[in-house]
């Protein structure tokens, strides 16, 4: 199949693919996202291929195999889905494959031990759509991920891909912008700026050349939704960008992908090639006369390059240093030309909005935060992974209903949202809705959607110190408040966690926060105050305990805790004394062991290896 020369031809091609598709063909979908691959999904896929050969089954006649992008339920991988039943199996090993083929593919029966077990009800749920983690989701940006092979453009077209583009090319560019404005789509990368308004501002600037760009830098630690979209459904981003380019009159686009995502770079690259070969990128797209192409630009390990002006400098071939944004990028951006930069998830929503309409999208979510959002729910929660839900869901629902509550039955303490630019929201406020504005009022921000769940064993002062340490590493160094202020903030926070905190330290931190907020050059600096101020606001008692009592209530700060062995629980198995790197645990076989607190370096290995939970931290 070569160039598709018109919108009509695309539809005919889609119909042809539909006619050839075998919806009843038992198909095995093996997740090839980075997470599942790390857990060994490749050998699982190979095992399926092996069984097919062994049993003389015919591919695409008796059985289909597909490798897909990230389902989002990574801790439970390798994930294998089965069509047409819509079953999901968790933690699949190569040894399980023969049974799956026999029981499920051939026999239509469920292999119970591989299906989801509800921890609360002990119910086994085999249906993908009934598993609580997926049941409450409304997948728009993630619509295809897990169902299609991201390296096969036909899969994307069969699923309805490029229909949004075909429709857009038949519209007036101005009307496309109006449609995006009416949908209420706001930037999904953290800024939350109305996408339609951004596009319109770009068009208002006179220029022969303009650019559209995709921010795939996803620097917030704890966030991996963009990775999942770029790996699992690269065409959704490409299609969105072509539509945006047509709307604003750009002929060149760039996707900036962080260096740490090699699979995303690979899959985007092959998707771009495939789109070109079908005439969906390049000259005269779908015979419309509109030409547009995309280049991929790789990051180099710099969080600050997620900031729009730093990103553009990096793409141009420079160090990623931001500039003062007194003149916006839509006016003077890449190469000083009008540029529309949007996040991966934002672009991924655009094709669906074109196909289903602005009203459909605006019916979801809240009054000021329309549509759905992909969240990465990670940390001390039972069901960790990516979830897409309508905006306005409460933090509590996310953590308890979808997340399945806190791991190990511990107490839910707080969530951290918005990455290093965000803050902590305590459990008592977890009925707050998650949307662009509510969290900001509470002293955090939704950011790119990272939700880090914390329990009673998380030290909030340590969390603040962690984020400031991160920012010290990532500061570009151009402006004084960030470059020289953050390290001194880190000094104060480190002193507090090491038991050297002074009475005036909290006030000093607040002063530095104030200086950063008013005086820093870019968002990295101006929002650096959030993690510190929000923990001071909601967890002042922990700061006071560290400073006044030299005590870490959560049992984390090494200088303030002691490791000891509970003589009652200890069975004298001697495992800890063997593993202790300091050799400071003594005890005879079958007798309670003792840790020499003087020599203990609080490395945590004894607690890690103890099978009887006999190691205590106080």
């Amino acid at each position: 199949m070569g160039i598709i020369a018109s919108a009509e031809e695309l539809e005919r091609y889609r119909e042809k693919l539909a006619a050839e598709a075998k919806p009843d063909l038992p198909t095995v979908l093996v997740c090839f996202g980075t997470g599942c691959q790390a857990n060994g999904s490749r050998p699982v896929a190979e095992a399926f291929a092996g069984i097919i050969r062994e049993q003389g089954l015919e591919l695409d006649v008796n059985i289909g195999i597909k490798t897909t992008g990230c389902h989002g339920y990574c801790e439970n991988g390798p994930l294998v889905a089965l069509k047409p039943q819509g079953i999901l199996y968790l933690k699949v090993k190569p040894e399980d494959v023969a049974e799956i083929v026999e029981e499920t593919v051939k026999g239509g029966r469920v292999v119970e031990r591989l299906a989801y077990q509800d921890k609360a009800t002990s119910e086994t749920i085999a249906q993908y759509s009934e598993i609580p983690f997926y049941k409450h989701q409304h997948r728009i940006a993630l619509r295809n991920i897990g169902a299609i092979d991201p390296t096969d453009i036909d899969d994307y077209i069969l699923a309805g891909g490029y229909a949004g583009l075909a429709k857009a090319l038949g519209m007036e560019p101005d009307d496309i912008i109006t449609e995006i404005e009416r949908s209420g789509l706001r930037g999904r990368g953290g800024g939350g700026f109305p996408a339609g308004t951004k596009w319109r501002s770009c068009v208002a600037v006179k220029s022969d050349t303009r650019y559209v760009m995709c921010n795939g830098d996803e620097g917030d630690p704890g966030a991996f939704m963009d990775r999942s979209i770029m790996e699992g459904d690269p065409h959704s981003v490409i299609e969105g960008m072509i539509i945006g380019a047509f709307a604003v009159g750009a002929h060149q686009g760039y996707i900036y992908v962080r260096d740490e995502y090699p699979l995303a770079v690979k899959n985007l690259g092959s998707a771009i090639e495939a789109a070109r070969s079908r005439g969906l990128l390049g000259d005269n797209i779908l015979g419309s006369g509109f030409s547009f192409d995309i280049k991929i630009s790789r990051g180099g390990g710099a969080f600050v390059c997620g900031e729009s002006s730093a990103l553009m400098r990096s793409v141009e071939g420079n160090v990623g240093e931001p500039r003062a944004k007194y003149i916006r990028s839509v006016e003077r951006g890449l190469y000083d030309r009008p540029t529309v930069l949007n996040n991966v998830e934002t672009w991924a929503n655009v094709p669906e909005i074109m196909v289903k309409g602005a009203d459909w999208y605006a019916a979801l979510g809240t009054e000021k935060s329309k549509g759905t959002k992909v969240f990465s729910l990670v940390g001390k929660v039972n069901n960790t992974g990516l979830v897409e839900v309508p905006m306005g869901i409460s933090i509590r629902e996310l953590v308890e209903k979808i997340g399945g509550g806190i791991q190990g039955g511990k107490k839910f303490k707080a969530v951290q949202t918005g990455g290093p630019s965000g803050g902590c929201i305590p459990e008592r406020l977890s009925d707050l809705p998650v949307d662009f504005d509510s969290l900001t009022e509470a002293g955090s921000m939704m950011g790119s959607g990272g939700i880090i769940v914390m329990d009673e064993e998380t030290c909030m002062v340590d969390v603040a110190r962690y984020f400031i340490n991160f920012l010290v590493d990532e500061s570009c160094g151009k402006c004084t408040p960030c470059r020289d202020g953050l390290p001194r903030m880190l000094d104060v926070l480190t002193a507090i966690t090491e038991g050297r905190g002074r009475e005036e330290d909290v006030a000093l931190l607040e002063e530095l926060c104030d200086l950063l907020t008013w005086g820093a050059l870019c968002g990295l600096g101006t929002s650096a105050a959030n993690p510190v101020l929000s923990t001071i606001r909601y967890f002042r008692d922990e700061y006071d305990a560290h400073i006044k009592e030299k005590r870490c209530p959560a049992g984390v700060c090494k200088a303030l805790i002691t490791y000891s062995i509970d003589a009652e629980a200890c069975t004298g198995c001697m495992l800890c004394s063997k593993e202790c790197p300091q050799g400071c645990i003594t005890g005879e076989r079958k007798k309670a062991h003792v840790i020499d607190a003087e020599r203990c370096i609080r490395c945590g290995v004894c607690k890690d290896v103890c099978r009887y939970d006999a190691v205590r931290i106080s």
């Binding site: 990532e474 470059r483 020289d484 000094d491 530095l512 008013w518 050059l521």
Partner: protein
């Protein structure tokens, strides 16, 4: 260049659109301190944050660096408010911490009544040798001189100007523009016996045929001659005796 109105500290002034607040303020006798900005160097500014002032526009207030904030319609600037002084003192306190030996920083801080810092000073092994990482030197070398001998290496607090690998540069012409431009005098340039030493490289100087003073590196003459085609003999005499 259309002229528009801007209000600075209650005074209504006329200025060309898109000129920076700092230039306009200075021309009208209003004091705003700055370190990293040089009007001759377009890529300079925005780094030291000493010139932060209040900008009131479209019903909102934010603090902006005067050295690169463009004059546009409806702008009101306040340079003398408690907030401006508080932030300026904060910035200067951090600068004192970073370069406690810098006289320029100390003088500016003294104007705000600030003589010490409560924070850790970068001293001893971590001495920054008066460098505030403002990049004026590298901007001048790239934009004005056009030689690109130095660039800002590293990121964060270790950011500093350097020649590649800290080795003597192949392209440096010894002109010293970087040293002249530096607001804190952090760049060492020494001359002795007709030889100038800068960035660990020695430059033989041309001596004036009239007064005998070595006044310009040969390498700089070579470079000017190459770029402009000027006759070499032009440089036989120093500017005082041409």
């Amino acid at each position: 260049m259309e002229k528009i109105s801007v209000i600075i500290d209650g005074k209504t002034l006329e200025a060309a659109r898109d000129r920076c607040v700092l230039d306009v303020a200075r021309e009208n006798g209003i004091y705003i301190p700055s370190l990293c900005y040089n009007p001759e160097v377009k890529s300079s500014g925005g780094s030291c944050r000493v010139c932060l002032v209040e900008a009131h526009q479209r019903g909102r207030m934010r603090m902006v660096t005067a050295c690169n904030y463009p004059i546009r319609e409806g702008l009101e600037i306040k340079t003398d408010t408690p907030l401006v002084h508080r932030i300026r003192r904060g910035v200067l306190e951090l600068l004192i911490s970073r370069v406690p030996d810098s006289e320029a920083v100390r003088d500016m801080a003294a104007k705000e009544g600030l003589t010490e810092t409560r924070f850790r000073k970068d001293e001893g092994e971590n001495n920054r040798y008066k460098c505030i990482a403002c990049a004026l030197c590298t901007n001048v070398c790239a934009e004005v001189v056009g030689v690109h001998a130095i660039a800002m290496e590293n990121r964060g607090a270790d950011k500093q100007p350097a020649t590649p690998y800290h080795k003597p540069s192949d392209v440096c012409i010894g002109c010293g523009a970087c040293a002249y431009a530096c607001p804190t005098g952090a760049i060492t340039m020494k001359e002795k016996d007709g030889v100038r030493r800068i960035w660990q490289k020695d430059f033989k100087m041309v001596a004036c045929s009239v007064c005998g003073t070595p006044y310009i590196p040969e390498a700089q003459v070579d470079w000017i001659v190459k770029k402009t085609g000027k006759d070499r003999s032009f440089f036989d005499k120093c500017p005082d005796h041409r």
